[in-house]
Symmetry: C2
Subunit: 438 residues, 2 copies
Amino acid sequence: MLKVIRSSFLDFIDDPFYTSEAASVRYLEDGLLVIENGKIKDFGTYEQLQEKYAGIDAIAYPDKLIMPGFIDTHIHYPQTAMMAAYGEQLLEWLSKYTFPTEAKFKDKNYAAAIATVFLDELLKNGTTTALVFAAVFPESVDAFFEEAERRNLRMIAGKVMMNRNAPDFLLDTAQSSYDETKALIEKWHQKGRLLYAVTPRFAITSTDEQLDLAGKLLSEFPDVYLHTHLSENVNEVQFVAELFPNSKGYLDVYDQAGLVKEKSIFAHGVQLTEQEFKRLSETKSAISFCPTSNLFLGSGLFKLHQAKSTETPVKVGLGTDIGAGTSFSLLQTANEAYKVVQLQGEKLSSFKALFLATLGGARALSLEDKLGNFEIGKEADFIVLDPKATPAMALRNADFPVKTLEDIADKAFAIMIMGDDRTIEVTYIMGEIAYQSI
Amino acid sequence: MLKVIRSSFLDFIDDPFYTSEAASVRYLEDGLLVIENGKIKDFGTYEQLQEKYAGIDAIAYPDKLIMPGFIDTHIHYPQTAMMAAYGEQLLEWLSKYTFPTEAKFKDKNYAAAIATVFLDELLKNGTTTALVFAAVFPESVDAFFEEAERRNLRMIAGKVMMNRNAPDFLLDTAQSSYDETKALIEKWHQKGRLLYAVTPRFAITSTDEQLDLAGKLLSEFPDVYLHTHLSENVNEVQFVAELFPNSKGYLDVYDQAGLVKEKSIFAHGVQLTEQEFKRLSETKSAISFCPTSNLFLGSGLFKLHQAKSTETPVKVGLGTDIGAGTSFSLLQTANEAYKVVQLQGEKLSSFKALFLATLGGARALSLEDKLGNFEIGKEADFIVLDPKATPAMALRNADFPVKTLEDIADKAFAIMIMGDDRTIEVTYIMGEIAYQSI
């Protein structure tokens, strides 16, 4: 059965960091999105398509803006209840707050309860796909994927691998992490919309042997993901250098284990060297830029302009990094991304930021064949935004809907600076309503 | 008639930057606040006061936290509709966005309409007192004060003085700014709860003559305020040095005109020198720290630890600086203040941040005899916060209300990092409900 949606639409058909904005943005002031069996069957202006679908009652969202669902490229679901943990930078924050919290995820019932709240929050914030850290316990992965499967979400997740430099109650071994991950891949990867990521926490909490086994898993299952942390904090980078004296740098630790490749997503990269940006570029790896987290932990300012340079282009997505991040909203995350870029004397337009949150995220996750914009054949995960969601936004965006690209750039900027979960009115998953604000 | 409020209460009786937190914070898990004729008549634990007020039905807010109303020490009401203006740093942002917007405030009806929305936003965000820039037009001051008076708010505002380096349609002259300001002081200062601030925009837009006349006004009306901008942006500081070759620095420009004294509030101070911090300290002047604005315009990181040093202590309040600021919420502003401090490797506890938003703000504005905490005799402007205002906060603060100072520090931190206008359930002005979320 066909479903026809009528509203204003904004998506990206190319990367505005490399192509002109006019050539990469697609804005239909009055458009139709046609869905069949959860996928996009047609997309165009109302004028173009109205006759073709004249027999079907359109679901209309007047004065709203429809975008592809947001993609969060780095988030920890076990940290949902420990947001806003006070006063530490990365390594101390992990010991003091994170590890005790993650210990609770041995209990599958607790894990399932948090997974439910977590996925509710994602949908409420317009995030339809995420790359997710579970905890070290396989139960935590099962709990997450069961809930994601129930909701028919395209989610990527994995069991944390960590066999040193953490409390005993959180440690696996190199061999157990290999065995458990392998079993989880066989159980969940490609089950419905679910995908698996081999997930060593970071170099500090894995031995060479564990990292090598992570690499072995990637070669045995070449289409699974690699998801880890990289060069977030100065002390972390230094500790990695001490732990791996034979490496040429932090990224090289992963590289030696065979973990740096397409479908490898590295969170943060705040402290990366020029050489490391180059290596990420040539391996087609991706970085998840997590501005609220980088500011909250005082890690520093990610060099987005260097990652998105023409010389060594690296795939970049946005990440909330809950629980070090301070908001589930990718709009709020874009707000902070803008500030991080401003502090470096650069600019981040609304189109560039929203590209990172949609098609850019899909490309970072090698999912651009399935998600990220309204191309025909893609999965119909999309969100209805209200540009006038609060009185202050209603004043700022009083003249929405607008006609020109320049005007929609301006309105979209107001949405990303002033918006939050309240801006998301409806979230559709595979063409079905999965969240509705009212 | 007496009004008795029962809930949990948090306020400050001293400055936690200089005194131990235990000695500066007052937390009553179960307290009573007694109000008579808009002022605080009594305050203490329920146990202490229940018998004394047994005959009066208490208004109870179970599971909520009551704090003194927030104080915003720097905000521009004419910029309410121009939040989230894209892509520029300070000087270009002023020319491109701010000046055209402020031109509209020659029309008193427009000014009145914006003043209404603006004050609605303040109350919705729990801000009960603010130090406010109007526009250059006296009509804009009248419109603002009329609306503030109608609501019985304690507000400080002033007409912008600016006679150069801006479009003609926004310029006054040294003499007209003196005359108009004088007339406005006589009309509004000390009228009910209203107070006046002599408000040269900043050194760049005033001649020596205008600054001298601002100084003359301060000597003629010794209890009015001085409100201006100071050392926000590197290019601004350099331009000031060119414009005032005989000054020893940016602050010295104001000092030579007699503008640096108690009741002088300088917004930003991001680029201040050690010598300038010292001068602000010895003159008992205050700085308004505006973190969302400083990040949004890429101005830099305010050195809060230097301002609050023991050697040269400077009074500091928080400012949203709408429209360069990105939120009307002083909770969101405290969130960003935390991040600015973290990026400098320092810490900002919830108590310190919330002190800045309440008693610290009152001290910065020399209003600590009237506002800022629940001392008997002060004006009863206060707010009821819901520590579980959103699902994510409900999870994080599940065990609120709590008993110990350590626990309330933690819950307050979650409130300031995750909270926004939704956290404000009720705003009381002089003991009367002025805003209610439901």
